[in-house]
Amino acid sequence: MNEIKPTRTIGVPQPLVDGPEKVSGKALYSADFLPNNCLVGRIFRSPVAHAEIIRLDISAAEALPGVRGIITGEDCDEPYGVLPIARFEYPMARDKVRYRGEPLACVAAVDVETAQKALDLIKFEYRELPAYFTSSDAMSEDAIDLHDHRPGNIEREVDYEIGDVDSALKDADMVLEETYNCPEICQVQTEPHAAIAEYDAERDYMTVRASTQVPFYVHIMLAKTLKMDQSQIRVIKPHIGGGFGCRTECLNVELMCALVARKAKGTVRLVVSREETFITHRGRPETDVKMKIGVKKDGTITAVDFQVIQRGGGYSGYGVVTILYAGSLVFGVYNFENARYKGLRVLTNTPPPGAMRGHGTVGVRYAFEALIDEISHRLKMDPIEFRRRNFLSAPTFTANDLMINSYGLPECLDWVEKESDWKTKKGNLGPYRGIGVAASHYLSGASKSVNWTGEPHATIHLKLDWDASITLLTGAPEIGQGSTTVITQCVAEVLGLDMTRIQSVTSDSKVTPKDNGAYSSRITFMVGNAAINAANNLKQVLIEAAARKLDCKPEDVECLGEVYRAASQDEGMTFEEVVLAALEGSGTITVKGNYDTIPESHGTKKYRGGAIGGSMAYAYSAQVVEVTVDPETAQVTVDKVWVAQDVGKALNPLSCEGQIQGSVWMGMGQAISEETVYHKGLGISGSMLDYRVPSFIESPPIEVGIIESIDPHGPFGAKEAGETSLSSFIPALTNAVADAVGVRPIDLPVTPDKLMELIEKRESGQKAAIK
């Protein structure tokens, strides 16, 4: 007789549970819903970057046959926004427009041609105001305020000093300082934003499908802007073509779609163009980082003194959180006690940025890791060795009270050092070839959610029915990151069942439990833990049912997945039999599981906003990048990347690898080619040709090492896998370029023109020195 064993799914590479739909073209994304009689939505946008609205005349457009509804700022006087403390944005501008392309009106018409014609008939009268496209212009003495309640165009100023920075800098043997410019970038997820809103006028009921990472936030904002009862709204998230953070807040697209659907008393499909997706933006803000670090001769860091200015665009968005993350997450990678931070989030007449992958941490991590590379160079110390001298030792709390219980950075560095053959290559690769290293971290979910309600952080429902199948109900938005697969694995593992017994229903507000959304890498950790809790609760129900039938005590029941038995000699009951026993007298069973973070993970009280950065666990990454620089053109080619990430426990090693490769590669785009460019507020990089996302041709092989530090709080020990490795790519690249050509690129992206200038400057400097 075969030995009966529970099925193990954790730690085994699993293709995505929704993979077959995606590869066969069956997966439906928001724009794929094409019901009959559906109206087409089109947006009228501001042609200027900053202006007072004098008049918006839609009468001619409204009179056009085939136009079923037009809405403007007049139709919605409720502001929306992700942070309850900073909601000043309207779906369509009301008094002023604050960036070029800001929506002013939305048309619903019978077809594209009519909608387009209607837009052409809208007359917009305005009085232009001085516009500011850089942080410094917006902060200049004579600049007028974009918002009356934000004097000096400062969205938020953040300050802290932890320890005694001045004396620690005095104690240092070497202090270096540099200012780094990281231009604004954009997610460029392949799916342009889309929504479809179905208004049932008879019931005054609204159903919205939208390309969002946060269906729950969308639900709240729909109720607020439509002034509808929350119970009269249903939000469904179809398949999503990526997000990377641009959809972690409700966007004006879904709000306008619903508003115009109600006005037109019908169903409206609003699919925006790629250019409009760039304008909707919510990418990574332009970030200037002034970084000063003091070290002892032995390489230990004594103090960090840094300032960050972020160009925040016309509205708040996540801005306050982004500037707080930039300050708090300087801690957590290395051990130092003294740090001083000043952060400024500035309002400008550009599209508002948001919470892009690596939210808040990327510019600061780049500056930090680039500067310590220069420091170790001057100390004549190997940069990996320098990092080793500054390790934390877990469990610990950082000086700003970040709770660290697992810390696999040492193993990550060991792995990349060995696999890249670092010791042989460093300094020895020959002219125009170089190698660089860097490290980074990221949180596994923000410990405190932005909409604090007192509910648990995550909730999972499991429905068990007569057919012995388990339906997993989760609000956690699957956006391509593989979250549904990982949650399914957690449930299957606890119950010892094959994953095929479990089918999932995700993100439908009338069916699935509420979930905060796909952001800050929270799902594996928070929802994974809730799934384990739910599965354990279900298992208990099954064990008790089996005990009744087997006539034994529940603690004597052995659960083998497909078989429950009283003793090893016992033939036991099949899973189906146990299910029927459990349903006796109760009918269909639904159990739930919750997860909540612990107060120790809630960050620091040492300064205002210190909760931002707090997480139950931090993942770690180290990477080595090898490059070649073309001597003629100064074009940087990335030859290979070795990256190791401490993911706690790789629940799905296949997905972990994919996530790590994707984030490394996205870091590469920011490092070598990506940048949004505006001319007087007009986006001139609003296509995927002008905005240079790396193609197959310039993308390197990325070798991944997975380090498992087993976090005591993580689901089976897991931490985040999809963001940590982004930021360290950038400094690893500039460090490699410095190794290759002897000059250090400072400003991003490292394009041939910028690098050529640096090389020429160095060469003319050398010539001058020889003379």
């Binding site: 094409l34 073509g241 296949l654 197959f696 092989p701």
Partner: protein, 168 residues
């Protein structure tokens, strides 16, 4: 609304089925496939010719359906992602993208698979460099391309092993 657009009678084959449809001369192939035929597997990721999400095969060649006028497809044979499955099961390429995680969000995937389909029909044993060149017009924002290359290699090996043609 009365439409004055000039129209064409389009006769073509889509996924093995013949169609005779009246289309506006300015109708894009991608809109014809998605909106008239309901074949929404083909995606639109950009404002024209930038991303490759709309790639389909026209007479066996990968084409951007967003840069192709439907009216120019008269007598052409068009194949979309919906036609790749073999008796309801995933084709070797589709299985490669599934098993090897060549698809994360899946939005680039139909276009990517159709470009790879075109490549493997021409070159059943592509080198890594051939794959990179062959798929260079397709952007993926999720995978960093590494696992897409592995997916195509998986399919090529699988086809070799089973002695099948891609389009079999």
């Amino acid at each position: 609304m009365s439409k004055k657009n000039h129209k064409t009678l389009l006769h073509c084959t889509v996924n093995g089925r013949e169609h005779d449809d009246v289309v506006d001369d300015n109708t894009l192939l991608v809109d014809y496939l998605r909106e008239s035929l309901g074949l929404t597997g083909t995606k639109i990721g950009c404002d024209g010719g930038e991303c490759g999400c709309c790639t389909v095969l026209v007479d066996g060649q990968p084409r951007h359906a967003c840069l192709t006028l439907a009216a120019t497809c008269t007598d052409k044979d068009i194949v979309t992602i919906e036609a790749l499955e073999v008796q309801g099961r995933l084709s070797a390429l589709q299985r490669g993208f599934h098993e090897k995680l060549g698809a994360q969000c899946g939005f680039c995937t139909p276009g990517m698979i159709m470009a790879a389909e075109g490549l493997l029909r021409e070159n059943p044993d592509p080198s890594e460099e051939d794959i990179r060149q062959g798929l260079a017009a397709n952007i993926c924002r999720c995978t960093g391309y590494v696992k897409i290359i592995e997916s195509v290699q998986y399919a090529a090996a699988e086809l070799k092993r089973t002695g099948k043609e891609v389009a079999a």
